[in-house]
């Protein structure tokens, strides 16, 4: 049967699988509250993962790598922002192309490069880490604790700062916001930079904190799960983070159950995030909190 040891293991692995999602989800959450929908999160994460491993190997410092990964994500966000919110190419087309490009480029580069394995240090609190079930909370790679900073910061930015108020305005009624003098597309590009930075960090966390190396297509659709989490959370930060936890937990179960001797359909657990996001969209759609201009381009003059 399942004892506390097994539960502790599952909790630990859930946390590890949730963290990369949570970083990226904070970014994508803010970007969606600004009315942009970016399937390029996948590319940002993958680019971040590769950049972090490459720089960590070159400098020998995993922390520098982490930073570099965030910057790679930022660059992808910059490109996306300019293509879709400056010259107004459809955001999904841009996302599609960027994902294909980043996947191709990272696969190409990893095939001809060899990187040293670098991993950031673990932060471990003696005593607390031995508590059953919640012990893993106190024994993680240190960047995970950045989430304690980033989640409140994201909340504050969106809900309490002037910038966030502007973002929410351009997400719900860009025409009205434009009339009041807000630069809609500029604000959306800024939101995308934030999304890129955090998605890159999420990918970098996956590569340099958890795995320690880069494999081809190592994000394997996590970017899409992040988008699913934002939808699942009905465009609220709390819900989004719960979504990340649920999806991370499903992933942990998929890995843990066979070892515990359970015959459970792994495909169902892989599919769970997508299924839940679809159900959430269908159930909440009528009283939706979806930003009203989500995913729609803004050009002055149209209603």
């Amino acid at each position: 049967m399942i004892g506390t040891d097994e539960i502790t293991t599952i909790v630990a692995s859930s946390l590890r699988l949730t963290a990369p999602l949570a970083f990226a989800a904070c970014g994508e959450y803010l970007a969606e509250r600004a009315g942009t929908q970016n399937i390029s999160v996948e590319g940002m994460m993958l680019g971040g993962a590769f950049g972090s491993v490459a720089v960590a190997s070159a400098t020998g410092s995993a922390t520098t790598g982490l930073l570099a990964g965030a910057i790679v994500g930022l660059v992808v966000g910059f490109v996306h922002g300019n293509l879709s919110h400056r010259i107004q190419i459809n955001t999904f087309v841009v996302g599609l192309v960027l994902n294909a490009f980043v996947l191709g480029l990272t696969s190409f580069l990893i095939a001809i490069s060899e990187f040293d394995s670098n991993q950031v240090a673990q932060l471990s609190i003696p005593g607390l880490r031995d508590i059953p079930i919640i012990g893993p909370l106190f024994e993680q790679r240190w960047p995970m604790y950045l989430l304690l900073l980033i989640i409140p910061l994201t909340w504050w930015l969106v809900e309490r700062s002037r910038w966030g108020l502007n973002l929410r305005a351009i997400a719900d009624n860009p025409q009205a916001a434009d009339v009041t003098g807000l630069k809609v597309n500029k604000l959306r590009r800024q939101a995308l930079l934030y999304a890129g930075l955090l998605s890159g960090l999420g990918g970098a966390y996956l590569a340099t904190a958890e795995v320690g190396s880069f494999n081809m297509n190592m994000t394997a659709g996590r970017g899409f799960i992040v988008i699913a989490a934002v939808i699942f959370g009905a465009w609220r930060l709390k819900g989004t983070m719960i979504g990340c936890l649920v999806f991370g937990f499903a992933d942990a179960l998929r890995l843990a159950l066979p070892a515990l001797g359970f015959e459970l359909n792994s495909q169902l657990l892989v599919a769970a995030p997508y299924l839940m996001a679809l159900l959430a969209m269908m159930l909440f759609a009528s009283k939706s909190r979806e930003p009203r201009a989500l995913g729609k381009p803004f050009v002055r003059g149209i209603t």
Binding site: Q37, F108, A271, M281, S286
Partner: protein
């Protein structure tokens, strides 16, 4: 709420003068940049651009065997692209082709392996079943959109991942699609049994002569039919109108849920058919990796072709040549992922120029006072690329 502005057809919009020339020039420049950038990448990483080009050429069009491979790869790409042309035109952007291809192949495999009828009939029925499966899968997204206001792009994407898991599941279950074990003590693998030769799509020519699969013939016929329908039929006109201006389309009597939903279902049906063609024309055995990015790449083909079926033919051939050529790249030390980079850059090279030309002409129109004669006004639609 159901009226959403999406993907107007740039090609159909009124254009400022000199637009076409400008687009052509920028496109040529962008392609040059894409090719040069890829070659620089190859030489910067220690490869030889000349060798890489040579390998791509040898693998794709140097002899009839290479041509056969190229045509084989181009067939599903073209089919997926045709479907994407339909949905893009109607302004319902389907990006879940990857899953629809795989699901179409799976249902086609089920029909082909379980129906006890004459071979040719089974073959036709399995192709139909694949198309219907793909159509129902994307049709579900249409129901979610028009019934519950769920974003089409997101739902087709999520449904695509669901389809992949459904098929991965189906090939591990003996009563669905898993092949029976070879012997009692062997491990059953995650794939279907092989299709008997009688239910495969017949083709023309045999190695080393040029092989032309029946799937290719079918897709060319469908291309012509679709091109004519889109350009000449009432259905095509309504579809274009819906994509260009949903509000005007509604006032003209186009029922968006019906026309848009049908377009979405049709695009899925083409993707499903592509999967069925891969299965019964090329692979003969259902594996979870069967879709092999054909769905994603087919969508890129449609983007480059700007949703024109006839233009999709040469683009599909080019992408097919990339696929067959890439298998020869490895011998030169250049990873075959190079073609993925080139493909992505090429899409950008075709997608950016029309929009850029519009932006430039918009800036010019604002800077100069309007002449006495009314010029075609700068479109006020959001500029989109899926024309």
């Amino acid at each position: 709420m159901s009226e959403k502005r999406k993907f107007p057809n740039v090609a159909e919009l009124m254009r400022p003068s000199g637009y076409g020339v400008q687009v052509t020039l920028i496109t040529i420049a962008a392609i040059a940049v894409a090719v040069v950038a890829s070659m620089v990448l190859v030489s910067a990483t220690g490869g030889s651009p000349g060798d890489a080009l040579d390998a791509l050429y040898t693998g794709s069009i140097a002899d009839t065997a290479a041509w056969s491979e190229t045509l084989k790869a181009a067939t599903p790409l073209l089919l997926v692209a045709l479907g994407a042309c339909i949905s893009n035109r109607a302004g319902v952007f389907n990006i879940g082709q990857e899953g629809q291809v795989l699901l179409g192949a799976a249902v086609a495999a089920y029909v082909a392996l379980h129906l006890a009828l004459p071979g040719t009939l089974v073959m036709i029925l399995s192709l139909l079943a694949g198309a219907i499966a793909g159509g129902l899968w994307s049709g579900a997204s249409a129901v979610m959109h028009y019934g519950r206001n769920v974003n089409i792009v997101v739902s087709t994407l999520l449904m695509s991942f669901l389809a992949i898991q459904v098929v991965s599941f189906a090939v591990t279950v003996p009563w669905l699609l898993q092949a029976p074990r070879a012997s009692a003590d062997s491990i059953a693998s995650s794939e279907s049994a092989q299709l008997p030769p009688s239910v495969r799509i017949p083709g023309f020519g045999e190695y080393p002569a040029l092989e032309i699969g029946g799937g290719l013939v079918l897709s060319i016929i469908l291309t012509i039919v679709l091109a004519v329908l889109l350009a000449r039929s009432r259905w095509g006109f309504r579809l274009n109108m819906l994509g260009l201006n949903p509000m005007a389309a509604r006032h003209a009597g186009v029922r968006a849920p019906f026309a848009g939903g049908m377009a979405l279902a049709l695009s899925g049906a083409f993707a499903g058919l592509a999967g069925a063609v891969i299965l019964s024309g090329q692979v003969f055995r259902l594996q979870p990796a069967l879709s092999n990015n054909f769905g994603w790449d087919g969508l890129l083909v449609a983007l480059i072709a700007r949703s024109r079926p006839l233009a999709a033919v040469p683009v599909a051939l080019l992408f097919g040549a990339f696929r067959s050529g890439s298998s020869f790249l490895a011998s030169t030390g250049v990873p075959n992922y190079l073609v993925d980079i080139v493909q992505a850059l090429l899409v950008l090279a075709f997608v950016v120029p029309p929009v850029l030309a519009k932006v430039k002409s918009r800036g010019r129109a604002e800077a100069t006072p309007p002449p006495a004669e009314p010029v075609p006004s700068t479109p006020t639609e959001p500029e989109k690329v899926t024309a």
